[in-house]
């Protein structure tokens, strides 16, 4: 059993991988660093305090005091040159000019300034004795799964499956080809299917670690849960990994140099990094591009992963994206086998 060529080839693949510290970082460390950095940068903080200014003029201090009592407003008193600069650079959202008639000076295209306009006016009118006509009550909610980090983690998982699936196969195959190792294997009775299958098997072993690391980290640090079943998540990630393995074999099937295969890899991956909704929703792209965007394997995989992790969908509702992922993998693998350069 241990001396079966498939076992030995798989062990060799795994050893070559885990003895390469850079590879370990890019596959396991990098997505976690990325998740951490983006999770911190885009954490949901609410709108925060709005900075506004009052122009230095008669009656400025009374006005500033009145505005200072309003929640969510930070008020400074500035003279006219400073006020103009701060307003232009967006460091204050709105400038109040005291006088007989109050003037609000602000850029109406900025959301923050619009918000400041409403809050300042409300505070001013209340200070002068305006009463509420209707009694209201605030009810604040945070929908689980609605945060940016909840959106991001399944996307990062998909992107990582693509990256390590493509690089893992592509780089090793082309390296074996340039070092004439592939030719050396061809001089033995080794079965070609064993050679290729070993990539898939070793990939599955590391896949488990890779998915567990990222999902575990997201859960531990940002409380990102998996609402669907772990079986559905496992099935989807395995399918995604196999599909990108197939694509990796296709990309590596003819290339003779590392430079050539690196170029091809980037050519394949770059459109998907941008279009497939890893960091932001692909709904932002124009309607005419949507069919193309949705046909990409990473888009389909990201959709399926989000459905499982955020919406808790069962696999039965993921027919379309899973079919797209499978079709890409299957077609790539078949074509790769036909055109593979075995020396």
């Amino acid at each position: 059993m241990r001396d079966h060529p498939l076992v030995q080839l798989t062990l060799a693949r795994m050893r070559e991988f885990y003895r390469e510290p850079e590879a370990i970082f890019w596959v396991f460390g990098f997505p976690i660093v990325l998740a951490f950095a983006l999770g911190i940068a885009f954490r949901n903080r609410g709108p925060g305090e709005l900075r506004i200014a009052v122009l230095r003029h008669t009656g400025d201090s009374a006005l500033a005091a009145a505005l200072g009592h309003a929640p969510g407003l930070a008020v400074t008193v500035l003279d006219s040159a400073a006020a103009r600069l701060e307003l232009r650079t967006g460091r204050v959202a709105l400038l109040v000019i005291p006088g007989e008639r109050l003037v609000y000076r602000y850029d109406s295209t900025r959301t923050e300034s619009q918000l400041a306009r409403l809050q300042v006016d409300d505070a001013v009118q209340r200070a002068r004795g305006r009463a509420d006509a209707v009694r209201v009550e605030d009810e604040r909610v945070t929908e689980p799964g609605g945060r940016y980090i909840d959106f991001l983690i399944p996307g990062l998982l998909g992107m990582n499956l693509m990256g390590s699936g493509l690089w893992g196969v592509g780089f090793s195959v082309v390296q074996a080809r340039t070092k004439r190792l592939l030719k050396r294997y061809m001089a033995t009775p080794m079965r070609r299917s064993h050679y290729l299958l070993a990539f898939v098997l070793s990939r599955l072993v590391f896949l488990f670690v890779e998915v567990a690391a990222l999902v575990g980290f997201a859960w531990w640090t940002f409380d990102v849960g998996v609402r669907g079943s772990f079986a559905a998540l496992a099935f989807t990630t395995v399918l995604g990994a196999l599909s990108f393995n197939g694509l990796g074999m296709l990309v590596a099937s003819r290339a003779r140099t590392i430079e050539a295969v690196s170029g091809l890899m980037n050519l394949v991956m770059l459109p998907m990094w941008i279009l497939s909704g890893t960091f932001f929703s692909y709904a932002r792209f124009p309607e005419t591009m949507q069919p193309f965007v949705r046909a990409l394997p990473l888009t389909a995989l990201n959709d399926a992963l989000r459905a499982v992790m955020i919406d808790g969908s069962p696999l039965t509702r993921l027919g379309t994206p899973l079919t797209i992922v499978t079709a890409w993998g299957f077609v790539s693998f078949v074509v790769a086998l036909r055109i593979f350069r075995w020396r």
């Binding site: 001396d3 079966h4 030995q8 080839l9 060799a12 190792l181 001089a187 033995t188 009775p189 080794m190």
Partner: protein
């Protein structure tokens, strides 16, 4: 019975005729050498015989079988050991892991211990391949070829680029395999290696075999067993006719830096040469004699030095 037989081999790469109609028969149990300069077509020939490169024309039979693909090819691969000229084994695997991997491809094979003992790499068993010296890497490559207990061993320039000690260690490995009854086809551009290891040698140039015999018989082709080389510090070199007329001289090869004489009897030719030079008032800057080698055979056959041909 022939271990290797091929007839009319032709291989063309674009405009270059790498192998130009080559016939060869290697007998079971012999060590056969393909000798020639870089670019002579040795590697192309051996890779055609190994079933790795399809020939454009010609017929190949290895151990009575052919490279037909499928089951017959796999059955044949089980019985061969192959070392390729420029294979780099995976750097991050250990010696033992590498041998174990190659071993797993064969039905019947040596144990890891046996094969490491054959190439004397036991103490390097746990070392990464990337950390081995050139000679150790080459012995490991041969170990991967020997692990299948092959009947026929193909070695493509096994000692190129190695230091003399590593080369001698590999010669011992090859010698032991041959001593145990194995058949070997090896290519080399080292004459010394061919003379030392091979029962028969084929000298290749421009994709053809230009001479084929035992090393001794090839050297005997020169009709003389010694070579005298000399160069002058000053004075005019005697003409080729004058030198050829000296007693015992069979052939004269003038070259810019030195002149070589192929000589049957050194004890008669050298004094006569010295007398001739003294009469001319010429002073020697170099005088050397050595036994004729395959190198001299190659130079005589092609008019070019082997190394820089």
């Amino acid at each position: 019975m022939s271990a290797i037989r091929c007839t009319g081999l032709v291989k063309r790469y674009g405009d270059v005729l790498a192998v130009a109609g080559l016939d060869l028969a290697v007998t079971e149990g012999e060590c056969f050498g393909l000798l020639g300069p870089n670019g002579a077509g040795k590697t192309t020939t051996i890779e055609i015989l190994e079933g790795l490169t399809p020939p454009d024309a010609g017929d190949v039979e290895i151990l009575g079988l052919r490279w037909t693909g499928g089951a017959e090819t796999r059955a044949l691969r089980e019985r061969l050991g192959i070392q390729l000229q420029d294979t780099q084994l995976a750097d991050k695997l250990t010696v033992e892991e590498t041998v174990r991997l190659f071993r797993s491809f064969y039905q019947s094979s040596h144990t890891v211990d046996e094969v490491l003992a054959l190439v004397e790499l036991e103490e390097k068993r746990g070392a990464w391949v990337g950390k081995l010296s050139g000679g150790q890497k080459q012995r490991l490559a041969v170990a991967c070829a020997l692990v299948s207990r092959p009947e026929l061993l193909f070695l493509d320039e096994p000692t190129t680029g190695l230091d003399p000690q590593s080369r001698r260690q590999l010669w011992d490995v090859i010698g032991r395999f041959r001593g145990a009854g194995g058949t070997i086809l090896l290519t080399t551009h080292y004459m010394e290696e061919a003379e030392r290891l091979c029962d028969r040698v084929a000298i290749m140039d421009h994709g053809k075999i230009i001479a084929l015999d035992t090393p001794r018989a090839l050297i005997a082709l020169l009709g003389a067993e010694h070579v005298v080389e000399f160069a002058l510090a000053d004075g005019a070199i005697p003409t080729v006719e004058e030198l050829a007329a000296l007693p015992g001289v069979r052939a004269v090869r003038p070259a810019p830096d030195r002149t070589a004489l192929t000589v049957a009897e050194v004890h008669r030719a050298v004094p006569a040469l010295l007398v001739l030079l003294e009469r001319r008032g010429a002073a020697l800057s170099l005088l050397a004699t050595h036994h004729a080698t395959l190198e001299d055979v190659f130079v005589t056959l092609t008019g070019r030095q082997l190394r820089d041909a």
